[in-house]
Symmetry: C2
Amino acid sequence: MLDLLIENIKEVVPLTDEDASLVKKAFNPVQLKKKDFLLRNGEYSDHMRFIVEGCLRAYKIDENGKEHILYFGIKNWWINDLYSYLTRTPATLFIQAVSDSTVMQIHRDQLNILYDKIHMIDRFYRIKTQNGFVALQERTINSMSQSADERYYDFVKKYRKMEQQIPQYMLASYLGITPEHLSTLRKNLTK
Amino acid sequence: MLDLLIENIKEVVPLTDEDASLVKKAFNPVQLKKKDFLLRNGEYSDHMRFIVEGCLRAYKIDENGKEHILYFGIKNWWINDLYSYLTRTPATLFIQAVSDSTVMQIHRDQLNILYDKIHMIDRFYRIKTQNGFVALQERTINSMSQSADERYYDFVKKYRKMEQQIPQYMLASYLGITPEHLSTLRKNLTK
DNA sequence: GAAGAAAATTAAGGTATCTTAAGAAAGCTA
DNA sequence: TAGCTTTCTTAAGATACCTTAATTTTCTTC
């Protein structure tokens, strides 16, 4: 499990063996059963989290009680309520296991120590966050310029693997439409 | 102009005088008249850019020829087509001056040198990007869970200053609605 | 493998936002 | 200040997507 994490980092920045060993010591595993919560609205998010196995979703519940999924995460992805983590305020997001999952997490205090000791850790999270920003921006553009069926079609094309792991009503929530509407879209697409 | 830039960095990370001097040498000014482009679709985005004065917008034109504004930037903000910058692919965004503006920019090659020399520069962009990510995520949530008039109301409340600098049709584009619709929303709000 | 729970489908009526088009207001430039 | 261009408004008809509710299908659990 730790090896996957170190590999993930080394794909982006170099680490000495000593660095890698420091990193390994700082992370702890969390096991989640399907539907378990990694984080709930109102709790503090004091960890950065890496998915070793499984599938999770980050979502928000609005004032009308509706769920809005912000993103999914699978093996090798990072997932968090970054706002809550950075500002040390209670989480506004829920993070829940879509299937049985394993996550490696590091406490903020530990990570801050690593930032100071290892220049490349700062760089790693810079690059990861930049990539995440770009992906989120892409999504923002698409949700502004495309219709629901185009967004659905693109999602399936891009994340076929993920699409097979998650129920349709979650995909609908991610796409910003109702499950009923997604259902009729699918019917019309296969016609 | 360079002082504003250094101040902006020092608000987030410490810099020695020597560091600051290296940073200063690496940035160059760009003057823009209203409606001038800092970047156009198809060009390469080889610089990171900091706004010293004025107001700019980053937008995309979709396949139907419609503009979608991703964000505005004012004094003290960073603005770029980060995707293009990071992947060295032609820009998909336009960045244009909404009013006469001054921008300080650094070439990727120069910035990469700074990253290696100054740990704190890696950290600075990590933190800036994390903040940007969080802001973009906030926007994504709002566009999924709020109606157009709520989004308009929130924007005005949050960015009163900016709202006064930009024409309404740009605000409509940012909010993801037509200028006609924004116009009717405004009429109904003040009633 | 039966019973209950969760998810997906279908369809009818409703609403937010869009499209088109035309006219009014405001902002530049000579 | 006049004339031209850009921006904003108004309104009517169109459409994408929503809401509600009932039915069917699939998944879970004992």
